[in-house]
Symmetry: none
Subunit: 129 residues, 4 copies
DNA sequence: GTGGTCTAGACCACG
DNA sequence: GTGGTCTAGACCACA
């Protein structure tokens, strides 16, 4: 399904969380689609099931998936509640990154171009595919 | 000067690095300006001087400041080479964030507006303020 | 594994960095091989674990090793980009040393011989030993 | 006469030592030539006379100059005594540098070329000019 | 078990 | 006064 970087400083469960979050955001994993069972994924990635479980728990905590005891884990159709808080945090991150890119010598035009490219790419992929 | 979040998952020295990096990027700390002495900042933040020093050393490694033993720590005037790698990483971060903002319901127009605001703000703030 | 000179002007962690760097350069420590654990090495050298960690972190910054929290520290397989700057610095050092050797009475022939010996030794030692 | 890098991590007296040593090695300062008086040099470089004095003391200790109380400091005509020890140290340094250059991707041919260029340059400059 | 963070406190070299 | 080194010892997260 995907690979983990064993050499990365970031813990494996965190890498898992980010990877799966990206799959959901980019609509590769559709709403209500079932995620691979913990043991299955653990087998494929040859890592400890506990690590998978920790990642799933984290994803559930962050509102990206929901778990049904005895059935499995599924992609949450719409993100829950307080998006504004999360959006605000993202806006800050975005501002920080833009500032740093300018500091490192990127031109404003480059940045705008980059953003627009990303926007059109995501717009194409997001609507019910 | 600024505050640290003692509860945060990211270590105090890392928070310090980010805070100071931001002050440099946003030209609040000018080139060759002296940073607060290790012990002084440690006193103000009521944390251990070693922690400050760890942050300063990290900033030095990343090319944002230089420390002269016996004299003090200062803002490095121009960023040292090799920005392309860092810029590439930032582009990826930026793409990821834009995707997530769209996923959480932000409109493309909002995002463009936000970026442009940031660009003009930084452009105004960077040259000799 | 090796010894440190407690009287030396250069700090212990710096000596450690140089020693380990040499072991990596001379292929004694192979790519992806695990370095001794921080506490283990600290025990063997009877110095503080923090000192070892400082050395390891420095080696990581310089691109010679990578550390994975909870797993260990390992030799980085290939050196990361940007070698030109480092190479330039080494060329200068080399020129300086040759000049000084001449000044101290070494003959040009001796120096050439010495270099060639080193070149053939390293060439023999580098590929899969 | 020359400049010091105030931003450098290496202490000013050490920079002075290296600079003057280079001038002697490259025969810019001739044997028995008098070095600038401590106060004069301190004035030119706008640094503390104590720093100059420390550098001169160090140079004397290393055998590059001699001081005549009340008269001044002079370039020592021939280096004193045990060159073999110093030469041995330099050979080791040289070997280390060659190894590292190879490790960083320099070709043996490049290194030989570099050495020969340095040798002919120094040979031209050394004999009693 | 691993690396990592943080503290408290001592000592050193530099200018 | 400055930054830097080192120790001793506690605690945490990860796998």
């Amino acid at each position: 399904m995907f690979e983990l970087d064993l050499r990365s400083r970031s813990p494996m469960y965190e890498q898992l969380v980010e990877k799966i979050k990206d799959l959901i955001i980019n609509n590769v994993l559709k709403p209500d689609e079932q995620l691979p069972a913990v043991r299955v994924l653990a087998g494929e990635l040859t890592i400890n099931p506990n690590t998978i479980q920790k990642a799933y728990r984290e994803l559930e905590h962050r509102g990206y998936i929901y778990s049904v005891p005895g059935k499995g884990s599924f992609v949450r159709p719409a993100v829950t509640g307080d998006n504004t808080a999360r959006l605000h945090a993202l806006e800050n991150e975005l501002s920080r990154i833009v500032s740093e890119m300018l500091f490192l010598g990127a031109s404003p035009a480059d940045i705008i171009t980059l953003i627009k490219a990303q926007l059109s790419k995501d717009e194409g992929g997001k609507p019910d595919d």
